[in-house]
């Protein structure tokens, strides 16, 4: 009988072990393709007008790169790349095993037979355990061009993962968390009557699941606030929570202006109120070295000179004062890193601010742009203090009683970098700016800016205050009062760098529910021409395979949605119904 019992026990153990085989660390990645606005992927590429950019077709290559790290506070390390030849419209392939208890980052690049990188996408922050099974999506977007994010190609409304058309906020702000999710916070909704409702709403947009879920409510409804990622750490210096926290500060409220700074914790799903400063809206914020810097902001009477720093413990305090109070301005990270003899790197935070307004702008009659009263058009602020910088091309010209000065507010701006000294000015600071509005003369109302700008500093990158600065411009068809811009990843060793510009639907400086047009989205090219030491730069809107950078099916209420960029250099732009993506050409911005 003992033998029988042992046999039964062995049998039971075998069966129990067998049952446990369901979760064995299987990992399935489904590549989600964008909605094809041009044609049908089922058509063969032999059709003359077939645009295969939206599809994975015979002859393409799918390149999967895998990165991992043991802690999200440390950079990902490259593990391997697999190139998978494509033999048809559908396919699958195995890839190598993953290691348990590590965070993974996957980047997918689809290249056609002419070696054109046409689709890219990625997912990150995925903690792998070999006792679980995983199924994730990677949404592939067109490189350097915009597409709507949809979860199924066949269902154009499948990113009702966003909001219904009359429920999309204007003046909202967004942030990408360390796990790749996007937090969208606040904004206001225009009603048919013309009334405006300010939102306390926050949402998590998960691009790996292609879903939107509710986040915690803000303490008060705000628009034109700031939001930035704060990498809070615990007592041991480890990133905590793993997602980072979101600094949400200031903004316009239903009855006035907000003076508070909040911290949103995605792990606890809470919003914590920190300190109060003075009322302001249209400030700007940056994350530098995991800490958040907030510059300026204004109310109906004046603009703030403050630069506030929120450190990794979540404490906010005044860091420096700008020479000029400003809002609706550009704020660019011009920090540098030094390395001592022992190889220890030190980050030196530095910020470039330029342009902007001296008060909250409501109409084109608010002639309060910086530039007309000997105000500093641009400044650089670092640990040592603040310094106005002289910018060639920024000037005032008087003709009779009329004076015209360089002025610009409400624009989108982003810094672009070249990785190859033979392809572009990799030792310069180069900032592209577009959209927004200007005051063409002292007696003129505000009007749309009609130029793409390049603000360029040449000299020593470790001394931006000592650089020689110049502003150049070229004409453009881009017209939008409240634009947002981020850089996207460019091809390695390439002459052109790219940015993504969300023009929203606003075709008016005055923001009313009926002051709207179609959704305009652009990818901006910053092209270097010449030889090392003598590169010339130009900025222009990149031609889109879509109809004139417009989504015709996306009319709606006035909207100036935010734009964010993830770790892959892939931009997400918020429109009236859809979230758009402009994919980068490589796996990161660096």
């Amino acid at each position: 009988m003992k033998i029988a019992r042992a046999a039964v026990l062995l049998c039971a153990l075998f069966l129990a072990w067998s049952c446990g085989q369901q979760d064995t660390g299987n990992f399935k990645i489904t590549l989600k393709l964008p909605e094809n606005l041009i044609n049908d992927c089922k058509k063969d590429s032999k059709y003359e007008d077939f645009v295969d950019d939206f599809c994975i077709v015979n002859g393409d290559s799918v390149e999967l790169s895998i990165f991992s790290t043991d802690d999200l506070s440390r950079p990902y390390v490259f593990d391997e790349t697999r190139v998978l030849p494509v033999g048809g419209l559908t396919g699958s392939s195995d890839f190598s095993s993953l290691r348990s208890n590590r965070y993974y980052r996957f980047f997918v690049k689809v290249t056609n037979t002419q070696e054109k990188v046409k689709l890219t996408g990625g997912a990150e922050g995925i903690l792998y355990e070999d006792t679980k099974n995983y199924e994730i999506n990677i949404f592939l977007g067109l490189t350097g061009d915009f597409v709507r994010v949809v979860s199924e190609q066949s269902d154009k409304t499948s990113l009702s993962t966003y909001f219904t058309e009359d429920d999309v906020p204007s003046g909202a702000r967004a942030v990408v968390l360390k796990d790749g999710r996007i937090v969208l916070a606040g904004g206001s909704i225009w009603r048919d009557s013309g009334s405006e409702s300010y939102l306390t709403r926050t949402n998590y947009i998960d691009m790996a699941k292609l879903t939107v879920t509710d986040g915690p409510s803000l303490r008060m409804g705000v628009k034109d606030h700031v939001a930035a990622l704060l990498e809070t750490t615990d007592a041991k210096g480890a990133l905590s929570p793993k997602t980072g926290k979101v600094v949400i500060a200031f903004g316009k409220t239903q009855d006035g202006y907000n003076d508070k700074i909040y911290l949103l914790d995605p792990e606890k799903n809470t919003v914590e109120q920190k300190v109060s400063f003075t009322n302001r809206a249209h400030a700007r914020a940056l994350t530098i070295g995991g800490e958040v810097y907030i510059s300026g902001g204004c109310d109906s009477g004046s603009a703030s000179r403050d630069i506030i720093k929120v450190d990794k413990k979540g404490s906010a305090s005044s860091w420096k004062l700008m020479e000029q109070g400003r809002c609706l301005h550009g704020m660019i990270d011009v920090s540098w890193v030094t390395t001592d003899d022992e190889g220890v790197e030190t980050l030196h935070p530095a910020i470039l601010v330029f342009g902007g307004a001296k008060k909250y702008i409501n109409t084109d009659q608010d002639k309060e742009l910086i530039g007309y009263n000997d105000e500093a058009f641009a400044e650089i602020i670092d640990d040592l203090g603040t310094q106005k910088i002289t910018v060639a091309g920024v000037e005032c010209v008087t003709t009779g009683a009329q004076t015209s000065c360089t002025s610009l507010a409400g624009f989108g701006a982003a810094r672009v970098k070249w990785d190859d000294p033979n392809k572009g000015p990799n030792e310069d600071i180069v900032v592209a700016a577009s959209g927004g509005f200007t005051q063409t003369a002292n007696d003129q109302p505000l009007s749309f800016s009609i130029a793409n700008y390049i603000l360029r500093g040449t000299g020593d990158l470790t001394n931006p205050k000592g650089m020689t600065w110049a502003l150049s411009s070229s004409g453009t068809a881009i017209r939008c009062a409240y634009a947002t811009m981020v850089p996207i990843s460019s091809p390695d060793s390439f002459t052109v760098q790219y940015t993504a510009l969300n023009c929203g639907t606003g075709k008016s400086i005055e923001r009313n529910h009926d002051a709207r047009n179609e959704q305009y989205i652009y990818s901006l090219e910053v092209r270097a021409a010449g030889t090392p030491g003598d590169f010339g730069l130009s900025a222009s809107a990149r031609a889109s395979v879509n109809d004139g950078s417009i989504d015709n099916s996306n009319s709606g209420y006035f909207l100036d949605g935010p734009t964010v960029v993830n770790d892959f250099g892939q931009a997400f732009l918020f429109g009236t119904r859809y979230i758009y993506v402009i994919s980068g050409f490589s796996d990161s911005l660096d």
Binding site: M1, A4, R5, A7, V8, L10, C11, A12, L13, F14, L15, A16, W17, S18, C19, Q21, Q22, T24, G25, N26, F27, K28, I29, T30, L31, L33, N36, D40, C41, K42, C55, I56, V57, V62, L64, L84, L89, T90, G91, S92, S93, D94, F95, S96, S97, L98, V108, N133, Y134, E152, Q153, S154
Partner: protein, 110 residues
């Protein structure tokens, strides 16, 4: 392993557990019956309150061979042991490609 197989496995496990429990507990269960089978059988039990017919019925039940000594039980256990061991060996030694670690795409989703 699909859901159906999982149910079958759990049923088998439950059956085994019950069988082990029954074998351990039956001989000494409180209020049980000491049984001796022979020409002149006797039993101990609370039969005083029962009439003769009832006594006969009770004895008919008690006279049965213990279930774990029955042919059907031994055959069933044997089959299940072999099946279970086979299943376990199958999963231990299977060499089919992994179900996971897969990248899939579909451009025909129109």
């Amino acid at each position: 392993m699909n859901y159906g197989m999982k149910i079958v496995a759990m049923v088998v496990l439950t059956a085994f557990s019950f069988a082990l429990f029954a074998q351990d507990k039956s001989p000494s269960a409180p209020g049980g019956v000491n049984l001796k089978v022979g020409e002149n059988f006797y039993f101990e039990g609370k039969t005083d309150a029962k009439d003769d017919d009832q006594k006969e019925a009770t004895m008919a039940e008690i006279k049965r061979v213990p279930f774990y000594e029955t042919t059907w039980f031994i055959a069933t256990v044997s089959i299940l042991v072999i099946a279970g061991a086979g299943t376990g060996i199958y999963f231990l030694t299977k060499t089919e490609p992994p179900q996971g670690n897969i990248l899939v795409w579909n451009s025909e989703n129109k």
